[in-house]
């Protein structure tokens, strides 16, 4: 079906002469064939958001309906790739020049590459929808080739050997299947059921793991003004968290940041497998100067890729940086459509869109009965660092973990600049079992002690602001001192040194050391020592440098310090 353009204004194009076109159909716009998507139908007028720059497009040029919604290509070859918001492979596009010019496209998956396919089912087997039919090795991940979630039945034919993603590997229930499947990005892939998230996603960041843990299949938001470390935190998570697959969506952010990830990830090792981090990562880059509509699509593309690997039985973590840019893309299109604005110009459906997006996370039983999870971590960029704005508030209504970045911490280079007073996690109890049984039986006690002390320290700081530190009794001075140790020597963690990843054991051991010092200090006060004596105790500088130690050396030092304070 072909229509004609009647209006062009920025990324919005209006066409006529397309009766029967469906909402969210993908269309080709103008003589250049720019990709767009139908977002409103009003009488004869069809409103299209275009994923590319519309300069020079004129009324009268044709619009072609492709008949399908925006779909993601799923299959072997996704890992270590970098795509734009509509799954165009940026490495391939680079062959056309250094700029992403208009109207060019390339398939997401390499059509020529041969993959060694090994069937795991045989002719005659009866398969459920979405069942796994074979395996391909994608770097050192076993890529499980699945039936599309809509297809099941009897295996009529299945072959072993080397295939491209377009060659037929099996015939099931009369349907010829390749290793590639397509799925509409705006629709969640089905699962058998959702399960309780009770396994932590270990991030190696002490403030996250020890105080505000995230569960595999959970959701978290990191709101913070600029310069508070959203991106550094997201990148640290992408590097060190114990997920099998990472989907990193750079949504409306900086080009140099993506260049940095591209430069760094192939060289960094996955701490668990020793392979380059890039081999477990898919990057989606839609930088701030790339077309705004594609930014809107990029988060859905990310979720779809994540669900695909989840369905294979993997733990997937999706980082979206930043969801505010996605919301702004919604706002921009909404405003061009002339919709009645809600709060701060955002459309009234912002809240439901945000909720739908995060609802795609979860720890699940897949259609094949495997366990898999998709964890979602969204950065939020509130204007002026004001958390009362609509995107932050709508996000906090649905996510379970809130890592609040604090500008004052960032300004004094306390990193990660996550506030221990404002953040929260609703998974603390769910994952406690894992820590108590697998790491240290004292975990819960130590955690409660640390948060309690930090809370107390904060209250005392307020008094200090009025009366000065010297007016406090010694006992309170010691609380201030231990609070400071917790903040500076435990919570602060440099993302650019070896300390960037602390194992769960190391985290708890460090807490044990600080608590031992606290107990000792309180006891010394009873025995007549002053807070001033404790300030200059030999253990203090050692605790300060404890985090720099690794492995056996760390344990030796920890034991030594504990020995000093009994």
């Amino acid at each position: 079906m072909t229509g004609k353009i009647v209006r062009v204004t920025g990324p919005l194009v209006v066409a006529r002469g397309m009766p029967g076109i469906q909402m969210y159909s993908v269309v080709r716009v103008g003589d250049m064939g720019l990709v767009g998507e139908v977002i409103r139908i009003e009488g004869e007028d069809v409103f299209i958001q275009v994923y590319e720059d519309t300069s020079g497009i004129r009324p009268g040029e044709p619009v072609e309906d492709t008949g399908t919604p925006l779909v993601a290509e799923l299959g072997p070859g996704l890992l270590s790739s970098i795509y734009d918001g509509t799954e165009r492979p940026l490495v391939i596009l680079k062959q056309e020049g250094d700029y992403v010019v208009r109207g060019i496209s390339a398939p997401a998956l390499d059509r020529k590459k041969k993959w060694k396919f090994r069937p795991t089912v045989k002719k005659g087997d009866e398969l459920d929808k979405g069942a796994i039919i074979g395996e391909v090795k994608e770097f050192n991940i076993i890529h499980r080739v699945m039936l599309p979630p809509t297809i099941g039945g009897k295996v009529e034919k299945i072959d072993e050997g080397e295939f491209t993603v377009e060659e037929i590997v099996a015939v099931v229930n009369g349907k010829s299947l390749t290793m590639m499947q397509k799925w509409p990005v705006r629709i969640p892939r089905p699962v058998r059921q959702k399960q309780d998230p009770n396994i932590p996603l270990v991030t190696g960041m002490r403030i996250l793991d020890a105080l505000f843990p995230l569960a595999k299949g959970g959701t978290a938001a990191i709101p913070g003004g600029f310069g508070t470390g959203k991106t550094v935190t997201q990148q640290s998570l992408a590097k060190f968290c114990d997920a099998d697959i990472i989907i990193y969506v750079g949504c409306g952010e900086r080009g140099n940041e993506m260049a940095d990830v591209l430069h760094e990830f192939p060289e960094l090792e996955d701490p668990r497998t020793g392979k380059p981090l890039m081999q477990r990562t898919v990057l989606i880059a839609n930088t701030s100067n790339m077309p705004v509509a594609a930014r809107e699509a990029s988060v859905y593309l990310g979720a779809t890729l994540g669900e695909y690997y989840r369905d294979m039985g993997y733990d997937v973590a999706l980082m979206a940086d930043s969801t505010s840019r996605w919301a702004e893309a919604l706002r921009e299109m909404s405003s061009r459509l002339g919709e009645m604005p809600g709060e701060e110009g955002y459309p009234a459906y912002l809240s439901s869109r945000v909720a739908q997006f995060y609802e795609r996370a979860g720890r699940v039983k897949t259609l094949t009965g495997n366990d898999g999870s998709l964890t979602m971590i969204g950065a939020v960029s509130p204007p002026g660092g004001d958390f009362s704005e609509p995107v932050t508030q709508n996000t906090l209504r649905v996510v379970k973990v809130f890592w609040a970045l604090d500008k004052r911490l960032a300004q004094r280079r306390h990193f990660p600049a996550i506030s221990w007073l404002n953040s929260y996690s609703l998974y603390t109890e769910e994952v406690a079992d894992w820590w108590v049984k697998g790491v240290n039986p004292q975990t819960t006690i130590l955690r409660d002690w640390a948060s309690g002390l930090l809370q107390k320290e904060n209250e005392l700081q307020e008094i200090v602001q009025l009366v000065g530190p010297d007016a406090l009794p010694d006992r309170e001075k010691v609380i201030l001192m231990v609070g400071r140790i917790l903040r500076e020597d435990f919570l602060q963690q440099n993302a650019f040194t070896d300390d960037a990843f602390a194992s769960p054991q190391k985290q708890i051991r460090m807490l044990e050391v600080v608590k031992a010092f606290n107990t000792y200090a309180m006891q010394m006060l009873e025995e007549g020592k002053s807070a001033g004596d404790l300030q200059v105790h030999d253990a203090v500088p050692r605790i300060a440098r404890l985090k720099e130690k690794m492995g056996d050396e760390f344990e030796k030092e920890a034991t030594l310090i504990v020995g000093m304070v009994v």
Binding site: T54, D98, Y99, F226, G227, A259, S288, E328, S335, G345
Partner: protein, 467 residues
């Protein structure tokens, strides 16, 4: 698309916008020429409809009547670029105003640059020495970075811009070619820049695009794009290292708001359009380096924060796009400290790429972090002292408080003509560290403390004698 048509069907003139009826097939973003009784104007299409086009007139609509003849050129706005542009002065639309002829264009480039493929970008990592301690040590600038200066009215940001333009170098290379894009600054300010550039001979390596305060406001929306198009050509085609100074982005954003209001768009925060983030990104993201090409574009946009408010949409959206910010402080300025850079809210995101052994010095990272920590603590103490008095502080706190004062006086403060090497700046920091207890230097590796404080021990002695 070779059709060129002229229309005399203007139906409405509103602010900088013309509504032209009966137009068939004008392209979005198309360049438009408008012939009036008083002369020719240029503009571009903002909204292309069947039978109607909305045209934004760069020079403003003063003197335009409904009899104006509007010609759609079939092309978009372009800038003729060539290596002859270096050393020249242009107006905000790229026409020479230095009395010389239009330089011979080697290419005519669209001024709305396409987005650089992130895969083509190479990571900025060459340390730029600006000779300003607070920037070099604490907010290091690297080649290909975009680092804005957040200023306020009445603060000496122009002096700082000139000082940086004059002093910026990358070790072992020749200096930068400067492209200067002025948006709505006063003629007095423009004269200051031209005079300073001429005085130091920098003008020979500079290209100026000037849209002054009395030039049409809408033209300002074009000026930075002209400047950046020239920058891209000189950097990526001619292999030059370009430092782009844009000032003042606040005026640019006002013009953007003016257009948005004239189009009766739904306003976002404080009346600025909802797409201001995207619009600013299409400017700022044009900084960078590209794999396989020699040149680079480093951007230093200047903006004045209305009422010194960093949460105002202009600095706020800028901060979300740029790779950090350098913030000028009125409090420091009042105390007579130049350059009044407050390091605490300042930040350079690409700093880590550009510092350390082989780039600046191995102790750089720790020194910077330690300066931040002490100064932040010192500022807290200064607030506390205002309430409880200095007597309520312990000995250690008093040392930190003194550190903060000395830091402002000896590290932040420097002369307009004082070009400090990064080594000199780092040594000043060690000098300051020598007056606090060594155990407090928690952010610095022990090996550096030993090396530099021991060295200091000697120099301190000699300084002591000379006093």
């Amino acid at each position: 698309m070779a059709f060129i048509k002229e229309f005399q069907t203007v139906s409405e003139i509103k602010g900088p916008l013309l509504f032209v009826e009966g137009v068939e097939g004008a392209g979005y973003d198309e360049l438009v020429r408008i012939r009036t009784a008083d002369g020719d104007l240029t503009g571009k299409v903002l909204d292309a409809r069947k039978g109607m086009a909305v045209v934004q007139v760069f020079e403003g609509t003063f003197g335009v009547s409904k009899q104006a003849r509007v010609r759609f050129t079939g092309d978009v706005v372009r800038l003729g670029v060539g290596s002859d542009m270096v050393g020249r002065v242009f107006d905000g639309l790229g026409r020479p105003i230095d009395g010389g002829l239009q330089p011979k264009p080697e290419e005519k480039l669209e001024i709305t640059g396409a987005a650089l493929n992130p895969v083509s970008r190479s990571v900025p990592q060459d340390f730029i020495q600006t000779g300003v301690s607070t920037i070099d040590v604490m907010n290091t600038l690297v080649r290909g970075q975009k680092l804005p200066i957040f200023s306020g009215s009445g603060l000496p940001h122009n002096k700082l811009a000139v000082q940086i333009a004059r002093q910026a170098t990358v070790k072992g290379t020749e200096g930068f070619n400067v492209i200067f894009g002025a948006m709505g600054i006063t003629s007095e300010e423009a004269k200051f820049f031209i005079r300073e550039f001429e005085r130091t001979g920098a003008i020979e390596h500079s290209t100026l695009f000037l849209n002054l305060a009395d030039d049409p406001a809408i033209e300002r929306l074009m000026t930075p794009r002209m400047a950046l198009t020239a920058a891209e050509y000189l950097a990526y085609e001619q292999g030059m290292h370009i430092l782009v100074i844009l000032t003042d982005l606040t005026n640019y954003c006002e013009a953007l708001r003016e257009i948005s209001a004239a189009r009766e768009e739904i306003p976002g925060r404080r009346g600025y359009p909802g797409y201001m983030y995207t619009d600013l990104a299409t400017l700022y993201e044009r900084a960078g380096r590209v794999h396989g090409r020699t040149g680079s574009i480093t951007q230093m946009p200047f903006l004045t924060m209305p009422n010194d408010d960093m949460t105002h949409p202009i600095p706020d959206l800028t901060g979300y796009i740029t790779e950090g910010q350098v913030v000028l402080s009125r409090a420091l300025h009042r105390r007579g400290i130049y350059p009044p850079i407050n390091p605490l809210p300042s930040l350079s995101r690409l700093m880590n790429q550009g510092i350390g052994e082989g780039k600046t010095r191995d102790d750089h990272y720790g020194v910077s972090n330690q300066l931040y920590a002490f100064y932040a603590e010192g500022m807290d103490l200064r607030n506390l002292v205002a309430i409880v008095g200095e007597a309520a502080l312990g000995a250690k706190d008093r040392q930190i408080l003194k550190f903060a004062n000395d830091f402002e006086d000896r590290f932040i403060r420097q002369g307009f003509h004082e070009n400090r090497s990064v080594e000199v700046s780092l040594d000043i920091a060690w000098d300051l560290f020598s007056e606090v207890p060594e155990t407090e230097l928690k952010k610095i590796k022990t090996q550096f403390i030993e090396r530099h404080l021991k060295q200091k021990g000697k120099t301190d002695g000699s300084e002591g004698n000379s006093k």
